[in-house]
C-alpha cells in the first residue's frame, strides 16, 4: 500500500463485484477511505472485508443508484463516517439483454439500463456535487462507460445510447464544474467481470475472439488494469484531465 490518495474519501457504486470491486480495491490500496456502495449488502460486505483485511479503510453501504434517496443516504453516510467526499465513481449497471431494435420493448430492454446508467449518473453526480465542489481541485467524478458508447452495438442497440449519454454528461460537467477545479471523466473498460467470465465459461470461443482482436492479447484485470486507470483519474496526476473518456481494453477499440 502507498499513499497517493491518503485521506481522500471515495464512493464507488457497483463495488460488490467486477469493475467496481477492482476500482474500490485499487483506490483503497492507495490510502483512500472507500465506501463500497453495493445493491446487495452481502457482496459489498465481502469486498469491504477484503479491503480492511489488507490494511485499507472501507465501509459498505447498501445503495440503489436508481433511487435518489438511497444515493443521498450513501453520500451522507460517507461524509458522516469519513468527514468529506472527494471522489465519486459511478460504475453500477444492470445486465443488458440482446434485442433487435425494431422489436425492442422499452419497458424490458431500456428501462433498467436507463435507470442504472443514466439516472444513476444523474443522482450520483448531483448529490455528490456540493462535496466535490468543497474538495476543489481534489474533486473527481468518474463514470464507467463502455466502448459501445462510442461505436454502437449490433447486439444490444439500446445499451449504446445509455453509455453514450454518460460520455456527454462528463463533457458537459467538465465545462460546468471546471471553475471549482473538479474534473469529470469516463473510463471505458473491457475487463474480466463476473458477467464476462461467465460468458467465457459458456462460450470459450468468445474469449478467443476477444483476445485475438485485442492488440495486447488479453482481457483486462479489474484491479490491476482498470482500477489503476481509475486511480490515475482520481489522483493529483490527472488534475488537468477533464471531459475525457479513457478506453482501457487492451487496444481493441481504437475509434476515439
Amino acid at each position: 500500500m502507498t499513499d497517493r490518495l491518503l485521506g481522500r474519501v471515495a464512493v464507488v457504486t457497483g463495488a460488490g463485484q467486477g469493475v467496481g470491486e477492482g476500482i474500490a480495491r485499487r483506490l483503497a490500496a492507495e490510502g483512500a477511505h472507500v465506501v463500497v456502495a453495493a445493491r446487495r449488502a452481502e457482496t459489498g460486505e465481502a469486498v469491504t472485508h477484503a479491503i480492511v483485511s489488507a490494511g485499507g479503510s472501507a465501509v459498505c453501504l447498501e445503495t440503489d443508484v436508481t433511487d435518489r434517496a438511497s444515493v443521498a443516504a450513501c453520500v451522507r453516510g460517507a461524509v458522516e463516517r469519513f468527514g468529506a467526499l472527494h471522489i465519486m465513481v459511478h460504475n453500477a449497471f444492470s445486465g443488458a439483454v440482446s434485442h433487435r431494435l425494431e422489436d425492442a420493448d422499452l419497458d424490458r430492454h431500456w428501462e433498467r439500463m436507463s435507470q442504472t446508467a443514466v439516472w444513476g449518473s444523474f443522482h450520483c453526480a448531483q448529490i455528490a456535487y456540493p462535496h466535490l465542489a468543497a474538495a476543489g481541485s481534489q474533486g473527481r467524478l468518474i463514470l464507467v462507460t463502455s466502448p459501445s458508447g462510442v461505436e454502437g452495438s449490433a447486439n444490444i442497440p439500446l445499451y449504446s445510447p445509455v453509455k453514450a449519454a454518460q460520455r456527454a454528461m462528463v463533457k458537459s460537467l467538465a465545462r460546468e464544474w471546471g471553475h471549482h477545479g473538479i474534473t469529470a471523466n469516463c473510463i471505458a473498460p473491457v475487463a474480466a467481470s463476473p458477467a464476462l467470465v461467465s460468458a467465457f465459461e459458456q462460450n470459450p470461443a468468445l474469449r478467443r475472439a476477444i483476445e485475438e482482436r485485442t492488440p495486447l492479447g488479453r482481457v483486462g484485470d479489474i484491479t490491476d488494469d482498470i482500477g489503476s486507470v481509475a486511480l490515475f483519474l482520481a489522483g493529483d496526476d490527472a488534475s488537468f484531465v477533464t471531459g475525457q473518456t479513457i478506453v482501457c481494453d487492451g487496444g481493441s477499440f481504437l475509434g476515439l
Binding site: W110, S114, A165, R167, L173, A174, R175
Partner: protein
C-alpha cells in the same frame, strides 16, 4: 429497390430536446425525466416506425452539443449524444436490410441553443458563412448514399472539426 427515378423511401427525424439552460444542480427529477426519457423514447419509436414503414434511408438531426457537451446543458447533451450513438447501433443492425441510418449534426443555434456555453469551443472563427444542411440531407436520403451508414456529418459552418 430504388433507382435514380424512384428515390428510396426515407425518413428524417429531428428529436425535440430541452434547450433551456439549466445549471445541473438545479435540475429536478421531473425535468430530467422530460429532458432524457422523452426524446429517447420518442426517437426509438420514430426509428422503429420508419423501419417498419419501409424507409431505406433514415437521417437523424442533432446539435453538435452532442459531441461537445455544454455547460448548463447536461440534460440536452446526454440525450443528443445518446441519439447519435443509437443511430450507429441501428446502422449496424439494419444494414443487412439495405437500410442506412446517419446523423447530420447542425450548429447549436439551429436548435436555439446558446453556442457560447453549449457548442464546440474553438479559437478559430467559423470557416464558412453558410451552414444549410438541406443538400446533405437530400444526398443521404438518395440511392447514391447506399454505402454510407452509421456516420455523423457536421454542417455547422466549419466550427466543429
Amino acid at each position: 429497390m430504388g433507382s435514380a427515378d424512384t428515390p428510396p423511401v426515407s425518413a428524417v427525424i429531428r428529436p425535440s430536446f430541452d434547450t433551456i439552460a439549466r445549471p445541473f444542480d438545479t435540475i429536478t427529477d421531473e425535468q430530467w425525466n422530460d429532458a432524457w426519457e422523452t426524446p429517447m423514447r420518442d426517437t426509438v419509436a420514430e426509428l422503429q416506425a420508419a423501419f417498419r414503414g419501409g424507409a431505406r434511408r433514415i437521417v437523424v438531426i442533432v446539435p453538435t452539443t452532442a459531441m461537445s457537451g455544454g455547460s448548463c446543458h447536461v440534460h440536452l447533451a446526454a440525450p443528443a449524444e445518446a441519439v447519435r450513438v443509437l443511430v450507429k447501433s441501428a446502422a449496424r443492425q439494419w444494414g443487412r436490410h439495405g437500410v442506412t441510418v446517419n446523423v447530420v449534426a447542425v450548429a447549436p443555434e439551429d436548435f436555439d441553443i446558446d453556442p457560447s456555453i453549449a457548442g464546440p469551443t474553438s479559437l478559430a472563427p467559423p470557416a464558412l458563412s453558410d451552414r444549410d444542411p438541406t443538400a446533405l440531407i437530400e444526398f443521404l436520403c438518395s440511392e447514391a448514399a447506399g454505402d454510407v451508414t452509421g456516420q455523423t456529418i457536421v454542417v455547422d459552418g466549419g466550427v466543429w472539426m
